[in-house]
């Protein structure tokens, strides 16, 4: 297995709050890593660290090393990093544009102007996100006309359009109904062939359904990480077991 991310001795603070404590882990290429844990466990901080979105906060401080393909991410050009590490948010966030322009947005921003090429990228990305069939006849309509699940898949397509290596999912199904959730999960399982996927979720069952490996965070610490099957059947730590069984959180 090829290591995509290598994280060593990472600490993150927001002001006086210690949001991640001494984190050491690897994320492998073409796996789906599910991240579970109760609120305030540091799982979202962990995710937003990977594309350096935490740096938007004023009191952010970090220490330690995070490498993507053996390059320290803090030394990378931040736009390039975010192009390589795409992100899908909890709430679908279509831009106030048409469906086509939403998907083409990132590609345009990175300098692709050729119309045919853009059309190709849009079709390709929408197909990969399992949305093409549903929207191909109305690409010019506003993205807000789509249902919640469709909007979320649109956001996945938009992320795919800039051709990332890694996709971060921040509770992508928290606002979706079960059928839409199933479609998004199906898309994720297909996508892992070409991408590395990190999925933060509050839904333990979702982690079990799609994750190759699962990481459990609690109180800003990584409690354990391992094969999803093992985590869910015989975890090392009692706290992991308690959380998965719904005893707290």
């Amino acid at each position: 297995m090829v290591e995509k991310f290598i994280i060593q001795n990472l600490d993150i603070w927001f002001g006086s709050i210690h949001a991640l404590k001494n984190l050491n882990m690897q994320i492998y290429a073409n796996e789906i890593l599910s991240v579970i844990g109760p609120a305030n466990s540091g799982k979202t901080t962990f995710l937003r660290m990977l594309n350096r979105l935490n740096e938007l906060e004023v009191n952010f401080r970090r220490d330690g090393s995070v490498k993507l393909d053996d390059i320290e991410i803090c030394k990378m050009n931040i736009e390039l990093l975010r192009k390589k590490v795409g992100m899908v948010f909890a709430l679908p966030l279509p831009l106030p544009l048409s469906i086509f322009d939403n998907v083409a947005y990132g590609a345009r921003m990175h300098g692709i102007k050729n119309k045919n090429k853009l059309r190709q990228i849009v079709e390709d990305s929408l197909s990969r996100a399992y949305l093409w069939e549903e929207v191909k006849d109305r690409l010019k309509t506003s993205a807000f006309k789509l249902s919640g699940g469709q909007q979320q898949r649109l956001c996945i397509a938009r992320t795919l359009a800039v051709n990332p290596d890694v996709i971060l999912f921040d509770e992508p199904c928290s606002g979706l109904d079960p059928i839409s959730t199933a479609k998004v999960e199906e898309a994720m399982l297909k996508l892992k062939k070409d991408y590395t996927i990190i999925l933060v979720t509050n839904n333990v069952k979702q982690a079990a359904r799609v994750g190759d490996r699962t990481a459990f965070f609690l109180n800003a610490e990584l409690i354990e990480v391992g094969e999803t099957g093992k985590i869910f059947t015989s975890p090392f730590d009692r706290r992991t077991d308690d959380y998965i069984r719904g005893k707290f959180g």
Partner: protein, 286 residues
């Protein structure tokens, strides 16, 4: 007893509300009554499109075209100066400035709004007008350009504070969404935040312009007040507002001149009403 108290308070508030509306209506009726009287003797087209404003010559001519053009020129000039600076300032305050700079700038902008217009006019007269005169080698520095520059300062606080509000209320998630796609800070501001806040920014611009059009004191002091049709921004002009302010004192009550000034008032009222309604439309557009 408690119910009675409630009743009294409720009615009092109602009366306050009605009183405000009543005042507006009364002003409007008075304006119409006095202003429209002019059109018994002077045709509307002569009034609106007449090229000469000679209110006290024999026979008097009441063409307000030069005044309308004067107001327009000063306003457009002020808009050209204040919109880019104002919106730029709003972007800086809302998106770029560190917290401390932000506080200082906001206080500064509020202070700018608090300067009385007569003081602004006075400062313009002493400093700006001589500069304009020497820079452009003009016989006088009292020009439309001087008025535009000073009025730009008056429009800016309105534009900055409302545009900043509009930018600030763009959901943070939009910004994060764009950044997560690898957009630079500038791309995010330009393509996402400005377009999401566009209706609020347009409203800010309209309200700023509304303020400029209605402004009287500063323009009267520094635009030269000559009621001729301007051919360039470096000529003296006279605005609608300045005309009323300058001539109302000497117009004989009940004369044609007096009614003509009220008619100008109606024109001004309609212009600012239109601007405010447009701004409101943008502000409440969703």
């Amino acid at each position: 007893m408690r119910k009675f108290k409630e009743f009294i308070v409720e009615k009092l508030i109602l009366i306050c509300g009605l009183f405000c509306i009543l005042v507006v209506v009364l002003i409007f009726i008075f304006l119409l009554k006095e202003g429209l009287t002019l059109f018994k003797t002077v045709p509307l087209s002569h009034f609106l499109f007449g090229k000469n404003w000679y209110p006290i010559s024999e026979p008097a001519q009441f063409g307000i075209l030069p005044l309308i053009l004067g107001s327009l020129l000063v306003t457009v000039g002020a808009a050209i100066i204040s919109i880019p600076i104002g919106v730029g300032c709003a972007i800086y305050i809302a998106e770029v400035a560190p917290l401390k700079t932000k506080e200082i700038l906001k206080a500064g902008i509020e202070l700018l709004a608090a300067i009385p217009s007569v003081v602004l006019g006075f400062i313009g007269m002493i400093t700006l007008v001589p500069w304009i005169k020497t820079i452009f080698k003009l016989p006088t520095g009292l020009t439309a350009l001087s008025g535009s520059i000073m009025l730009a300062f008056m429009a800016m606080p309105t534009i900055v504070s409302i545009a900043e509000d509009a930018l600030y209320s763009v959901p943070k998630s939009y910004k994060e969404g764009a950044l997560a796609l690898g957009a630079t800070r500038w791309q995010t501001i330009w393509r996402v935040e400005l377009s999401a806040a566009s209706s609020g920014i347009l409203a800010a611009v309209m309200l700023g312009i509304g303020r400029v059009i209605g402004e009287t004191m500063a323009v009267m002091m520094i635009t030269g007040n000559s009621a001729v049709i301007p051919t360039s921004i470096l000529e003296p002009v006279r605005t609608l507002t300045a005309t009323i302010a300058a001539e109302m004192g000497e117009a004989v009550v009940g004369s044609e001149h007096y009614f003509a000034l009220f008619a100008i008032g109606i024109v001004l009222f309609l212009i600012s009403f239109a601007i405010n309604v447009t701004a409101d439309m943008f502000l409440h557009k969703k």
